[in-house]
């Protein structure tokens, strides 16, 4: 039984998983928040898709004999069209747009010449498999270097950017995810490649002010659509509001020279001279100016400000601090001479009561079932009294810190974003 809003998703996913005639019946939408009496009316009423009585559909689904089609086995191949298309640039631009291959902004049409030029940005062979990607609980699609190159061209990348796009693609992490939650994504770039490619990690680092920042982030979304089959509303994408950050995915080249701390990729086990891209997933980014205490003119305490911001986040995702170098310098003056010290303080001092915790959507949806299974710390948290105080995030490792920005003012930003994976860019050069 599925609510009507997810009809296409349910039918398509059943078909993709090998049961195109799976018996699915539908209730009105939503079920969430309805009283037992309201839901009883659903159960005693019609299936809003078929128009037949819902419970007759249920009983029939369990008892009507199978057809020959229902009993079929075997393999069905799926076509995504020919390897190439031939037409004018204008018509191809329209064709790619109308077929959902783009982010609905104009693209660079991936002509064979431009794709060949992109392929010169890597030593890897065009037919080498790069990875697999799924935009949710779907069968993953696979792709090779040439297919990734076509997407990099479309996003406006230069060939020298291509190893970063390949590294992102090799992670298998899509930047468009099927959830109704409208997830956001982010990538942190570390290493000498930031200067070689002229990334902007200074003034306006998160804004539209440099080609690598702009196009590599865009490439992640375009390739997630085309290589991972993500971003099809009603099918592989269900975000109710969507997320504007999906256009570019919050590209953060770390301002390593201006940071008082070790860069993120070193924390993740790489050497400082390595070129690395680290990927994050979550709900979004908020400005530090909204934190309590952010207007203080003297004795500015960014640790308390950040903790205040994180207290509004869901602990299901992590906390990513994006600190302007001025913020980082101030924090060091306060005694946080390592990222680990700041993380330890934030983990211990960003707290909530058990009552508040249990009232959160994500706690019910994800943590409560884990608690029932005995997973910690959730099992212990659910046994505590309502007024007990617990950490807002389950683990200190849920916090990450990067330093970026132009030092025009001491403002942090904070992402409700979880660290996913760090990938070597050099491997794909």
């Amino acid at each position: 039984m599925v609510t009507k809003a997810f009809k296409d998703l349910a039918l398509l996913n059943a078909a993709k998983r090998g049961m195109p005639h799976e018996r699915i019946c539908f209730t009105p939408h939503p079920v969430w928040g309805k009283t037992p009496d309201e839901v009883r009316a659903y159960v005693e009423g019609p299936d809003p898709v078929s128009g037949k009585p819902l419970m007759k559909e249920v009983v029939d689904g369990l008892t009507v004999p199978l057809s020959d089609e229902d009993k079929k086995s075997g393999t069905v191949s799926v076509s995504v069209g020919p390897p190439t298309y031939r037409d004018t640039l204008d018509n191809l631009q329209e064709f790619y747009l109308n077929n959902g291959y783009t982010d609905f902004l104009p693209i660079i049409v991936p002509t064979e010449e431009k794709v060949d030029a992109m392929l010169k940005g890597t030593s890897h062979k065009p037919d080498e498999t790069v990875g697999k990607m799924a935009a949710g609980a779907y069968p993953a699609w696979s792709y090779n270097v040439r297919q990734v190159a076509a997407n990099a061209v479309m996003a406006g990348c230069r060939p020298e950017y291509f190893p970063i796009v390949l590294a992102v693609a090799s992670s298998g992490m899509a930047s468009l995810f099927s959830s109704t939650n409208s997830f956001a994504f982010s990538m942190v770039v570390n290493g000498p490649i930031r200067d070689k490619l002229e990334f902007n990690y200074g003034i306006g680092v998160l804004g539209p002010f440099a080609q690598p920042n702009a196009t590599i982030g865009r490439a992640w979304t375009i390739l997630s659509k085309n290589l991972g089959n993500g971003g099809i509303p009603g099918d592989t994408y269900l975000g109710s509001l969507g997320n504007n950050l999906n256009y570019n995915n919050v590209v953060i080249p770390e301002h390593e020279d201006a940071s008082p701390w070790v860069p993120l990729h070193v924390q993740k086990g790489f050497k400082k001279e390595d070129n690395v891209v680290s990927l994050f997933r979550g709900l979004g980014v908020v400005p530090g100016q909204v934190a309590r205490g952010s207007s203080a003119n003297e004795n500015v305490q960014f640790d308390y400000q950040l903790s205040d911001l994180f207290g509004t986040f869901t602990g299901f995702f992590g906390a990513l601090i994006i600190a302007d170098p001025l913020v980082a310098a101030r924090l060091k003056e306060q005694g946080y001479d390592t990222k680990e010290k700041l993380i330890d303080w934030l983990y211990k001092n960003t707290t909530q009561t058990v009552k508040d915790y249990k009232s959160r959507n994500y706690a019910y949806l994800f943590d409560y079932p884990r608690a029932l299974r005995g997973d910690e710390p959730w099992a212990s948290w659910y046994k505590m009294p309502d007024d007990a105080v617990i950490p807002h995030f389950p683990h200190a490792s849920d916090f990450n810190i990067v330093v970026a920005g132009g030092q025009t003012n001491a403002y942090p930003q904070a992402g409700n974003l979880s660290y996913g994976v760090s990938v070597s860019i050099d491997k794909w050069a």
């Binding site: 039984m1 609510t3 997810f6 039918l11 078909a15 090998g18 049961m19 005639h21 209730t27 079920v31 969430w32 309805k34 037992p36 839901v39 659903y42 159960v43 369990l62 008892t63 004999p65 199978l66 229902d70 009993k71 079929k72 086995s73 075997g74 393999t75 069905v76 191949s77 799926v78 995504v80 069209g81 020919p82 190439t84 298309y85 031939r86 037409d87 004018t88 204008d90 018509n91 329209e94 109308n98 077929n99 959902g100 291959y101 049409v109 991936p110 064979e112 010449e113 069968p139 993953a140 696979s142 792709y143 297919q147 997407n151 061209v153 390739l223 290589l227 949806l365 079932p369 029932l372």
Partner: protein, 126 residues
Amino acid sequence: MSPALLAGAPAEAQEKKPATALHGAASHASSGKVTAVNPKGTPPPIQLIPMAPRLTSLDGKTVYLVDTGFHGSDVLLMQVQAWFGRNMPSVTTVFKRKAGPYMEDDPALWKEIKAKGNAVIMAVGH
């Protein structure tokens, strides 16, 4: 269901705006044509799964009602359980909440249902 739909092609967009490329509807002279690379990845083939045999009747049978964990699933399945009680009292219903978050598998429950149940109703999304 068409291979294009299964591949995730935007059927709605295709219906509204038939693609001009590939069909000779070029707006420029043919000498202006270029060859462009298909940016799509490679979908896996679909392995068809024969559906489980159906029961001839639910009379005297045990039907598991499995809550996926989405909000309201429990309320809905309780009402389904009550409906069976009122309308098909010979059916035994067993309510179970699937272990773990909704996206995780629960092989122990599937094993229990195979051993003790005759049918399953699973619900629901939001």
